[in-house]
Symmetry: C2
Subunit: 333 residues, 2 copies
DNA sequence: TTGAAAGCGCTAACAT
DNA sequence: ATGTTAGCGCTTTCAA
């Protein structure tokens, strides 16, 4: 900047004014500055400027996801980027791999880079470690799961409603023996989906068979095994509600392994690529990760504009996508 | 930092030494500093420190992808993150949407934040705009596609070899009428895959039918239409080599629409989720995006350690994954 | 409309 | 082993 000023024959402050598009610089000087900047291929240093700038904004935010290469997370990522880009804000992103210790390290790494805000998919059972950042005025928004121990903005899918919808859809198809395959029970969203399933069953007055409710299924392999166990039951289910993506895939593999994919109805929670190309095509309750990301990003910026905003809990609706697997009628064992 | 120094009763420099784990601070003082830092929830400001620090490193890099929510790109992203994390480096990522103007804007946005290096999936037909950054000493590595107009490190899949492998696999299965569905011809990787196809056909001494070579197919819909046209030919192909992911999916949709998915062989370039669950399961030449990202990140850091390194061209091998669709024998029209 | 001086939070270089 | 001073590239404040 000093070099540019010298070359343009003006003071350093005038260069600063031109670069920041401040008013009150004569056209002649502005042109000279622009020319000098071009000749020296001058690139302003945002990090230096932000050191003194009012509000000390760095025009960057941090985004913590389970993993950047997980399709659900990646869609959130893209939506956040799109909102941030409109504001000239860059986004740091990182993967926690669902590890609370990683989560904390990454928050520290981003904080030390003075991000203006943080969007976090919380993994831990406790986010009280965030209190110092919050007191320092850093806005934090949680996505996909609610925060624990602190009252923060968060945006979540309507998990109970989605699970009720999925279950009710199967009930409406005439099923009564509907199995539930749930993720680790300590995960808040898994618990909400479980509740939704229970509510729908209760509302329909269908008695619950505990043998059909399997929790703590957490990946493809365990879902496959759980489904095989269900199918081997004396009175197997005629329909399955798989509460999560990987569980849905594992269930499909198991049904195919037994050649039952056209006999046993299946509704999955969360949509996935090519679900429509499978045979049968898979009926799902789709989440809207794009909307989740968009809402979270909007919220960060709203809070940046007005730090006094009360914490808001945003719920994003789900949508039943009928494709075939969920419409298979009850079939005698 | 000043506050911490005051509270600990030491000089600001001593705090700096403790925070940066420099040697030569007595245990007593170090403890006092740590205590004071904790009491004030002091978070060091990396951006301020980097202003003066030797080498002016910001411990951040920029990553430009076609889109962060594209699975191929997301896998590269994760691999880059993993390498960067080991070095305590944070990554800014952004999506170009294949737009050269976005690419340039994002490079400027990241440069003004003084990233230590840039990993770019180039979209434009010319990357000479990077010359000032390169002269300023910013390492740049290209991924997935070679740079144009500048000689830079880059890491690419072995496209010609992968395309030859796919084509030869079909030839070995007895096919002679093998169609080629190619992406936009001006994309360098598309051209390389086209070449690989031509080479394999020539090596096998199979005459080329121009009616079977369709280029400038660039999405699912156009691939679907192209395939329908191929199937309507007086002498349709008995096998198809789809040179890219979306093209493969479009081709599958077309084959199914005509009920020909078990008659016409198909090999796709690039693997995709659930390819093994389709019927028939899809044979592909898989790329290794994780390895591409890892190699690119390693390269950035190697160059950061030694800026004098000559530009290196790294090729990542592909792998034929046999699943069924590519092993369908030639079928009379 | 323009500029000079101070200082953001930190580290380098050089004392002591 | 510890401290002092200068200054990174910029913006702020205030003066001209």
């Amino acid at each position: 900047m000093r070099d540019v000023a010298e070359r343009a024959g003006v003071s350093i402050k005038t260069v600063s004014r031109v670069v920041n598009r401040e008013t009150g610089v004569s056209a002649v000087l502005a042109d000279r500055v622009h020319a000098a900047a071009r000749e020296l291929s001058y690139q302003p240093d945002l990090t230096a400027g932000n050191l003194r700038r009012a509000g000390r904004r760095t025009a960057s935010i941090g985004l913590l996801l389970a993993s950047v290469d997980n399709p659900f997370a990646a869609t959130i990522h893209r939506a956040v980027e799109d909102v941030a880009e409109r504001r000239g804000v860059a986004v740091f992103s990182a993967s926690t791999d669902e590890r609370p210790d990683r989560e904390r390290e990454l928050v520290a790494a981003f904080t030390s880079r003075r991000v203006d805000g943080l969007i976090i998919t919380p993994t831990g059972v406790d986010q009280r470690y965030l209190v110092p950042e919050l007191e320092a005025g850093t806005p934090v928004v949680m996505v996909d799961r609610p925060p624990v121990g602190v009252d923060l903005d968060h945006v979540l899918s309507d998990n109970p409603d989605g699970a009720r919808t999925a279950t009710s859809h199967l009930l409406a198809g005439g099923h009564r023996r509907i199995a539930y395959l749930g993720d680790l029970a300590h995960i808040a969203t898994a618990a909400e989906r479980h509740d939704g399933y229970l509510q729908a069953m209760a509302t329909a007055g269908v008695p619950l068979d505990p043998a059909l409710v399997l929790e703590d299924v957490h990946n493809e392999q365990s879902a496959l095994e759980a489904t095989l166990r269900l199918l081997a039951l004396p009175e197997p289910p005629t329909a399955i509600f798989a509460s999560q993506n990987l569980i849905t895939i594992g269930t499909i593999r198991a049904l195919r392994a037994r050649g039952r994919q056209h006999d046993v109805a299946l509704v999955g929670f969360d949509d996935f690529v090519l679900a429509d190309l499978l045979d049968p095509a898979v009926t799902v309750v789709a989440q809207d990760p794009g909307e989740i990301g968009r809402a979270a990003a909007e919220r960060i910026f709203a809070r940046l504009d007005d730090p006094a905003l009360p914490a808001e809990w945003i719920t994003v609706p789900t949508r039943l996508v009928v494709r075939g697997s969920g419409e298979i009628p009850p079939h005698r064992a």
